[in-house]
Symmetry: C2
Subunit: 132 residues, 2 copies
Amino acid sequence: MTDKPRYKRSRQRERILNLLRETDTHPTAVWIYDRLKPEFHNLSMGTVYRNLHILVEQGLVAKIACGSTFDRFDGNVKPHYHFFCEKCGSVLDLPLEVDESINRKVDELTNFVTRSHKMDFFGLCDQCSSRL
Amino acid sequence: MTDKPRYKRSRQRERILNLLRETDTHPTAVWIYDRLKPEFHNLSMGTVYRNLHILVEQGLVAKIACGSTFDRFDGNVKPHYHFFCEKCGSVLDLPLEVDESINRKVDELTNFVTRSHKMDFFGLCDQCSSRL
DNA sequence: GTTCATGCAAATCGTTTGCACAATG
DNA sequence: CATTGTGCAAACGATTTGCATGAAC
């Protein structure tokens, strides 16, 4: 067994975290890469992914699994629900309150031990629905 | 523009559908492939994926996007929620009623037009929680 | 100076696709 | 016979990893 790593600071990781905290667009790894490339002109996708993984592990960033194609990342780790626009593909935060009590409801109906849940909504966003 | 295809019957596709209807384990493409390989000894993953895609398009099968790694498929197309065991990885159906009214609630709180939602629960399944 | 992070390229994994041939209607 | 389905292998896209070098502590 190897010891758990004690992470050292890295300019790249700090910028990735800042970037994620500055936006609410739930960026992809390439989006982050493209944004940071001018700043770190030798940046590689490996570095982006490695740091995203560390940030998720540290609980500073959330990974959003949307479909099976690619991941998005969220600098907002407070529990909240997402809306996926089926037309433009954007991912938006919902002002809907997170209902933690529903976890207990599942426990009552089953023999499972529920730790969390997530809820995703699908449809047309603000912009796309007004352009119909 | 090409015309929409008029699907012909295929023994492979019929077996895939039956297989999915006979199980509630939400199989992956490889699982289906492995099951059907003895029956069709020249079966290829391409055929499995192509047929799964057609079945989804026909509304006979649902694709379950879990995480970003691989897909699972569900022969039960009636709306229902899923439970993902974080220990053994199994995916289970929940006897929780699907709350369609929550879509309208999102519409009231936003300017979006919500067509559907999905809810996934995470924790320990029956078997895994009793073995602690 | 030991450990962790980086950049690069190659590898991996699930899935998709082009093509020649077989099966369906 | 016109069209769709199959098997095979190659291609794909997102992500991961091995390795030598560089930065952090």
